[in-house]
Symmetry: C2
Subunit: 206 residues, 2 copies
Amino acid sequence: MKKISESTIRRLSKYYRSLEQLVEKRTDTVSSDQLAEMDGITSAQVRKDLSFFGTFGKRGLGYNTKALKKQIGEILGLVKEWRVGIIGAGNIGRALVNFGEFKKQGFKVTLIMDSDPAKVGERIQDLTVESTDRLTTLVKSHKIEIAIVAVPTHAAQRVADDLVKAGVRAILNFAPISLKVPPNVQVKYENPAIEIESLSYFLKNS
Amino acid sequence: MKKISESTIRRLSKYYRSLEQLVEKRTDTVSSDQLAEMDGITSAQVRKDLSFFGTFGKRGLGYNTKALKKQIGEILGLVKEWRVGIIGAGNIGRALVNFGEFKKQGFKVTLIMDSDPAKVGERIQDLTVESTDRLTTLVKSHKIEIAIVAVPTHAAQRVADDLVKAGVRAILNFAPISLKVPPNVQVKYENPAIEIESLSYFLKNS
């Protein structure tokens, strides 16, 4: 398959969510205009994205919601269950164990770890917080495919190094620092502070 | 000032964080190569971004970390305290009340609200959870400038409508849905599920 850009993947994730809502509401078909309106994207862009994947709406009928949802889900890799480990049992780590959107999309959190002895052994939902002293061993034995780094800034790079050693190739990082990883490892960043700063920029300059 | 693109603002936020780390470590100067390395950006891009703002490093010396941090902070609007309200006292809302990066950057959470009577009245740090029945009144009296929407999907658009009525012009939305707002209101989205899906895409296709 041709290489798909980051921004296209992000739009596919948005379409996927809108289609999910439509399927839940038992809406059978959707036009590119409607999808565009739901996601705040131009309808030309929607048609371009979908035709790229060989999907074409029927003139006057639009797309079949279930079929399109299934197809986009396959592209995004949502057809299997992914094993997720969370490093850091602070507020963010805890919130993510319970994050409904992960469960719904097949991202199963099977491990949560912390370096703080006071937190180790604590129950969060049906998981027990494990010690990061055993990170490599447990990440391997749990067959973690995607790791979430939710530790303080100063510890993030060390944790990332350990994850890479344990064979993890995909990291979602909440620590406000750029992680250095080998080229075969993918890191995505999630930092509410970066988003809020584009809002303060907007308020200041408008 | 010329209009700055979203992606430039995002890079400025990254530089700002790296400069903050350097200032904390009492490092006085930094080269564009070092900043590039810290943020995983090309050094040509760093120089281009900074020259756009009239900042030029000294050949062989680089940039003064403190001065550059101050200048970027001013561009991002980080020189004043912003009043932030959080709607939704679930896991994410709670995590954000305590989010260190917000405090450090001058985003002060002064209000948290929920529609669940069981949560109203509860203490979270030094705040008391207020009822969303009083949203418009309290958002106004607290002079909230930036609102964070951390409610379930089905409630998000109604909350956004109320926030707009109360005069809020900047919203950070954690609900997995596109919000419809007037053109003078800015919405930013934060959804860990979207980021994790680009990781599953990566794992599936590599």
